[in-house]
């Protein structure tokens, strides 16, 4: 399940010259949230990912994680309005763009990417 989850969140926020979701610590954020404030989503997301993997195996000889990126994107596009996926997109983006105190966004890398200047103490720093 972990490998499918990584594969999916890395299509939600893929790598380019900045890290992917998993490279920026989103798995760390999700691990906290699935036993914390988003625990009600752990099961629906797991079920959804299992179904996604089954669809991948139906259409090809391998599971979702082993598909090429463009096939993964096609499959995700076909389920993008399913509630579990919408929530996973939100959670992944939270892990990527929120403060590092929540476990993701290693090195505030997403903030560097978009140009957000965290000025915790402002001119006091």
């Amino acid at each position: 399940m972990k490998s499918i989850l990584i594969a999916v969140i890395d299509r939600i926020i893929p790598a380019d010259d900045f890290p992917s979701a998993s490279q920026a610590g989103v798995m760390n954020y999700l691990a906290r949230q699935f036993v914390g404030d988003a625990q009600q989503w752990a099961e629906p997301i797991e079920t959804g990912l299992e179904s996604l993997d089954a669809q991948a195996r139906q259409k090809s000889a391998c599971g979702f994680a082993e598909l090429p990126a463009e096939k993964q994107d096609e499959l995700l596009a076909s389920i993008e309005s399913e509630r579990f996926f919408e929530e996973l997109v939100a959670l992944t983006s939270e892990g990527f763009y929120a403060d590092t105190g929540n476990g993701g966004n290693f090195g505030e890398i997403s903030w560097k990417m978009i140009g957000y200047l965290p000025r915790e103490k402002g001119d006091l720093e």
Binding site: R11, I12, I13, P14, D16, F18, Q33, G36, D37, A38, D73, L76, E80, V89, A90, T92, S93, E94, Y97, A98, D99, G101, N102, S110, W111, M113, I114, G115, Y116, L117, R119, E120, K121, G122, D123, L124
Partner: protein, 548 residues
Amino acid sequence: MKDSYDAIVVGSGAGGGIVACVLAEAGQTVLLLERGKTMSYTQVSLDHVRNHRFGKYGNNTGPELEGHPRVFIDSAGKRHVLQPHQGGYMNNAMVEGGGTLIYGAQAWRFLPKDFRMASIYGTPAGSSLSDWPITYDELEPYYERAEWEIGVSCDHTEASQFWPRKKPFPMPPMEDRPPRPVLRKAAHSLGWKTMPVPVLINSVPYNGRQACVHCGCCIGFACPSDGKNGSQNTVIPRALATGLCDRVTQAMAERIDTDSQGKVIGVTMVVMIDGQPQRKSVRAKRVIVSGGAIETTRLLMNSTSTHHPNGLGNEHDYLGRNLQGHVYVGAVGYMQDSMYDGRGPGVSIATLQFNHGNPGVVGGGLLADEFIKLPIIFWNSGFPPGEKKWGLSAKRFMREKYVKCIHVQGPVQEIPNPEARVQVDPTVRDRYGIPVVKLSGKIHQATSDVADFLREKAMLWLKTAGAENTWTWGHGMGLTGGQHQAGTARMGNDVKASVTDSWGRVHGHDNLYIADGSLHVTNGGMNPVLTIMALAFRVGEGIVANSR
């Protein structure tokens, strides 16, 4: 805490802190009760997913998620029992200072016409639109006190385009931010007047505290330099310095006590004693309720007795009606160049061109640029319709547009209606067994019409400024409240269609007062906090005059 005081003030937010200060400085002994805690900047924290701007997983300044439910009846009539961070709960910060600890601190006076809405526009069917029992001119000296004693930064000459003003602001306006010259030029080319946004933030050191350090996280968070002015760092310290005011936090007022004649004699509260919640009754010559429009209603309604079977101030079933906050409308566009330099507050320029005099609609509202957005808030709400929120395109969108975004928005002056209600639900209780509020109703159609009108002006402003891909979004008909909650115990001269007199004294009582947004007859087309503060100074002075 003593057993009796001259006055008990319930709630330490924008209204309660000021009344406590005015009374204590006039020599009265005061007990200031606050249900929340005292919180430092560090304790409030900078959690991007648990705050009053993005509260998906909680809030940073109370109440705690467990043990403080509210009941919400949605527009389809469905009943929900909600936690404080959920939509429909309409939370405001429950902490020492209330919302003023974590607000964006926009410091608007209501306009002279805002006090005379029914005279100007009539009363639309199904609404309760009324004039205030006082005029702008009567409140003006108290606005001035709020600007000087709490501390506001702005430009007197530019503000004087919109209001008759006697005295300049104590501090110059906040420095220019990139959107200000762009939006100013566009507005002036359209013939619209603009002004810098007045804020309760120190543009220069003031009253012994530092200036703003431009951290960019005003709204939803506390201030790292303490240069944002709220009750907790202005009037409450003054009240305490008299030696006459006791401030007790984690003290939840349960009911206002009355004697066998129905006269108010004090407050029964749940208070932490040796770490345990215990009930305690304290006596006072007068009680001032400043819990915000929702919790003030709850306390009064829960204070039933044989003399007051429907609660205090509710002889005519008028308490808790006319709940109003603000419908917000806005538009977003993307400029060629960066509009972002990281230096807060972010909100910098406004037009009040459309607060009144708009063809075919009742009233209006101001438009201003938005505070700096947390990245996750931009992700959550900054994508135009049709823009995919996952995949490489979404990542590129964030990367390209975050710094180029301008968001113009404004609060619509609501047309109050009596079916927008706060009541008590006796079947749902909080952690102390106190019945909680039930919220129900929706906005008036006239409010919706103004929103549609103002939205087009927001779009026009951005397009004229040269923004690309300008887009906007609709509004619902749902009840508003939250941080701008107001109207549930309006002032007035008609005892059947108001709850207090023009000095905030509850009809039928000589020693029970209200000092918060509940008093507002209408809530302006702008942020209401400076009006709450001005009224609180006036209510406080009225009490002092009556106590002599």
